[in-house]
């Protein structure tokens, strides 16, 4: 198989399986569920295997895969090619996106078992992977934008998947509209880029080559607008409000789209435009601050959430904040590496949450789910491991990635960022173990008999990955050589600490986290503390962000549209139209005197016409006759 066919197959196999599932679902009344499962798993499985091949070749032989599908637009000199390119960054994205997608497909086949919209679900799901691959593999920003919009669209469809409940549809709308704001930024940035740098071709490489000619302030504007897009997609302040509501979708959706892959698209995009961001340090710093505030904010809010999926949603937002912090200080590969490990442990956490939800009759409140360790021992082990990992306990995967971020922050000299990250990191341990201890350490016991093998296997795989994935990017301190960072070869800033300092940082950090876990254990394990928490304070109300947005944006828009509807539309435009309609009626009455049904009047009109024609012709031809 040639390189380009391989890449095209990788991209198209989920699309084909999505189309097949769609048509089977449409055409047949009672298709077999196993057929859908087979198609969906084949579609995602093929691309997962191919993705592993691509990233293997890229890692060991530094091979760049390209594939040119067709020319999409050709206007004079300017062409937009539908071309795919898997360079190191793209291959790295494939390395975790495709296998995690496959695992979550496997999981979803258990989770969605006997759902009446099974076929619809997997159509969306496979379509999602297609768009995600398009986003990752795009060779120019336009194609990337198509993938970007595509994942947004599928995300919308999947959040409102259970559309019988209107609340879910509202959640989907909210996600879509908030993302629109971000997409506006992205699109504006693309247009500006096109004006400034589009003359020499619009692929990433040619854009980066002509970056130097762009005016610095314009460059900052472009960088900022691009980041607005990333804000929307990756749920950063202030465009994060959709993510917690997006948990209305089925849990595999939350695991795949709103934890492991789609929300990381913003991080990927910023990393893809790394040459642009290295030239705009101000915007980079802004990104870092937005990331820091998002991380801290989400971590604080998560400490007072009770819905198991919302806790994880805020946790996702917080981790994305960490990634943006790293991007902001120029540690691109570190951010990507955290994204890599995050995909595994967050996917695992969501899957575990989904497993619990299915096992206990769709209860999501951790207060009602107390004491489930006896009935789900394996799940307890996996969730505990994932929580340890997200809290950055050595030697689990997130320890390496998060500690690299902390190190980079410290080395960059922005101490305030480092402190915020540290607090957020401690709070992460706090809210994760609050959840774990409330769920599993309780006098109460609840039992369930439900279990599904197809849900459990992918979780086991992800557990293993979230334990060991960190070893791939082992820092020098532990005898590694930063394999992934070297592979990615992005424009990382040199942010190295002396080993002693780094060791000190890690130890202090780890000790603090262990202390927090201990405190959490004291507070929540085998106690009723969770029931005594106040529901009224600022944190429990999520800092009233939703309410503020409603007050500042939604309400004025609402009143404005009411004003336009009643005053302008009804009062002025409708009245004008009615007025003219009235005069049409009057004019109609006038003309109906002429059209009176009396044939000799018609003969008269005809005569007038003929005579006028005669007179005109006689006058016009007076010279000739």
């Amino acid at each position: 198989m040639s390189d380009s066919t391989l890449l095209s197959t990788l991209l198209l196999s989920p699309l084909i399986s999505a189309a097949l599932i769609f048509f089977i679902n449409m055409l047949f009344l009672n298709p077999r569920q196993s057929l859908f499962t087979f198609l969906a798993l084949t579609g995602s499985g093929v691309s997962a295997v191919l993705a592993l091949i691509v990233s293997y070749q890229s890692y060991f032989h530094a091979q760049v895969f390209t594939s040119h599908l067709f020319t999409w637009l050709s206007i004079g000199e300017f062409t937009i090619e539908l071309a795919l390119k898997a360079d190191a960054l793209g291959s790295f994205m494939l390395l975790f996106v495709a296998p995690v997608s496959f695992l979550i497909h496997l999981y979803a086949s258990g989770y969605m078992d006997k759902d009446k919209s099974y076929g619809r679900f997997f159509t969306y799901f496979n379509l999602f992977i297609f768009f995600m691959f398009l986003l990752v593999l795009a060779d120019n920003p336009i194609i990337m934008f198509i993938g970007w919009e595509g994942v947004g669209l599928v995300s919308y469809a999947l959040i409102g998947f259970y559309f019988e409940d209107i609340q879910n549809t509202y959640a989907g709308n909210k996600a879509f509209i908030v993302n629109r704001v971000g997409d506006f930024g992205f699109l504006s940035a693309l247009m500006l880029l096109f004006i400034e740098a589009g003359s020499a071709g619009f692929s990433f490489d040619s854009i980066f080559l002509s970056l130097a000619q762009i005016d610095p302030s314009m460059l900052s504007l472009i960088a900022f607008l691009l980041f607005v897009g990333a804000m929307g997609k990756s749920a950063q302040i202030p465009l994060f409000v959709w993510l917690p509501d997006a948990m209305a979708g089925p849990t595999p959706v939350s695991a795949l789209i709103h934890a492991a892959t789609m929300v990381t698209a913003g991080v990927y995009m910023v990393a893809r435009f790394a040459p642009l961001y290295t030239m705009t340090p101000d915007i980079s710093l802004f990104i870092a601050y937005v990331g820091a505030f998002s991380a801290l904010f989400a971590a604080i809010v998560a400490t007072r959430q009770y819905d198991i999926k919302k806790i994880l949603a805020y946790s996702t937002m917080s981790q994305l904040g960490f990634m943006f912090m790293a991007l902001g200080v120029g540690a691109y590969s570190t951010a990507l590496f955290h994204m890599f490990t995050h995909a595994f442990f967050k996917g695992l956490l969501f899957m575990a949450a989904g497993y619990i939800i299915v096992a206990f009759h769709h209860k999501q409140d951790i207060r009602e789910l107390q004491g489930i360790r006896k009935s789900l021992p394996l799940l307890f082990v996996m969730m505990f491991t994932a929580s340890l990992s997200i809290s950055a306990i050595p030697p689990l995967s997130a320890f390496f990635s998060k500690d690299a971020i902390m190190g980079a922050l410290y080395a960059s000299g922005h101490v305030e960022l480092f402190l915020m990250a540290l607090v957020a990191s401690l709070l992460t341990a706090y809210y994760m173990f609050r959840m774990v201890f409330v769920l599993f350490y309780s006098q109460k016991t609840q039992s369930t008999k439900k279990s599904s093998k197809s849900m459990l296997y992918p979780m086991v795989v992800l557990t293993v990955l979230s334990v060991f994935a960190g070893l791939l990017n082992l820092p020098e301190l532990f005898g590694g050589n930063l394999n992934i960072s070297n592979w990615l070869n992005l424009l990382d800033k040199e942010l190295l600490l002396p080993h002693a300092k780094e060791l000190l940082l890690i130890s202090v950090n780890t000790l603090l986290i262990l202390g927090v876990i201990l405190y959490t254990y004291k507070r929540y394990a085998y106690t009723q503390a969770i029931h005594k928490e106040s529901q009224e304070n600022l944190v429990a109300k999520k800092f009233y962000v939703d309410e503020i947005y409603t007050l500042l944006i939604t309400q004025p828009l609402h009143y404005l549209s009411i004003f336009f509807e009643q005053k302008i539309s009804h009062g002025i435009i409708d009245r004008l139209i009615n007025l003219s309609a009235l005069y049409y009626a009057r004019a109609g009455i006038l003309f109906s005197y002429l059209e009176n049904g009396n044939v000799r009047f018609y003969a008269l009109y005809m005569l007038i016409g003929v005579v006028s024609g005669f007179v005109y012709l006689y006058w016009a031809l007076r010279g000739v006759l």
């Binding site: 008269l604 005569l607 007038i608 003929v610 005579v611 005669f614 007179v615 006689y618 006759l625």
Partner: protein, 166 residues
């Protein structure tokens, strides 16, 4: 010269009687003056040697159609109150004449300007039954047959229209 003065006389009679025809209040007056018009038109036919058409005009128009009209008028027993109320008849006639005047004027002007007359030599046979009949059954046989169908259709149509209950 003689034929010219005859033509002018006949033309005068035709025009005057047709004006009387369109302006008379009672239909019976119209019909009677229309007979005058038709007969003088027939005479005009004869003036150009169309003897067969002269006969046809007299027999069919003045003989058949006009007597049919007279018969209908009398058969219906039309009284004055059955006539339409034509209070503004004269204004209508005047107005319409004003509209038509330019039309007539232009046509007459065009006729006078153009030189359309061929003035072909008329043979002895022209206008006789033989001449017309030969042309009719030689060149115009299809229209002739079609007209016969049309007459049949009109006959049936007239019967159906005037049936008592529709």
């Amino acid at each position: 010269m003689q034929s010219d003065s005859i033509f002018f006389l006949l033309a005068l009679i035709t025009i005057v009687s047709s004006i009387v025809m369109i302006s008379a209040h009672r239909p019976i007056d119209s019909a009677l003056s229309f007979i005058v018009t038709l007969v003088s038109i027939a005479a005009l036919f004869a003036l150009v040697n169309a003897t067969f058409l002269f006969v046809v005009q007299i027999i069919i128009y003045a003989g058949a159609i006009l007597s049919l009209i007279l018969f209908i008028i009398m058969f219906l027993n039309i009284k004055d109150e059955n006539l339409p109320d034509e209070r503004y008849k004269n204004y209508w006639l005047l107005g319409t004449s004003l509209i038509v005047a330019p039309f007539s004027f232009i046509l007459i002007d065009l006729i006078l300007r153009s030189n359309i007359a061929l003035k072909a030599q008329i043979s002895e046979e022209f206008g006789t039954i033989k001449d017309v009949g030969l042309t009719l059954f030689d060149k115009w046989i299809l229209p002739f047959e079609l007209v016969s169908i049309l007459l049949l259709v009109a006959l049936i149509g007239a019967v159906i229209l005037s049936k008592k209950e529709a």
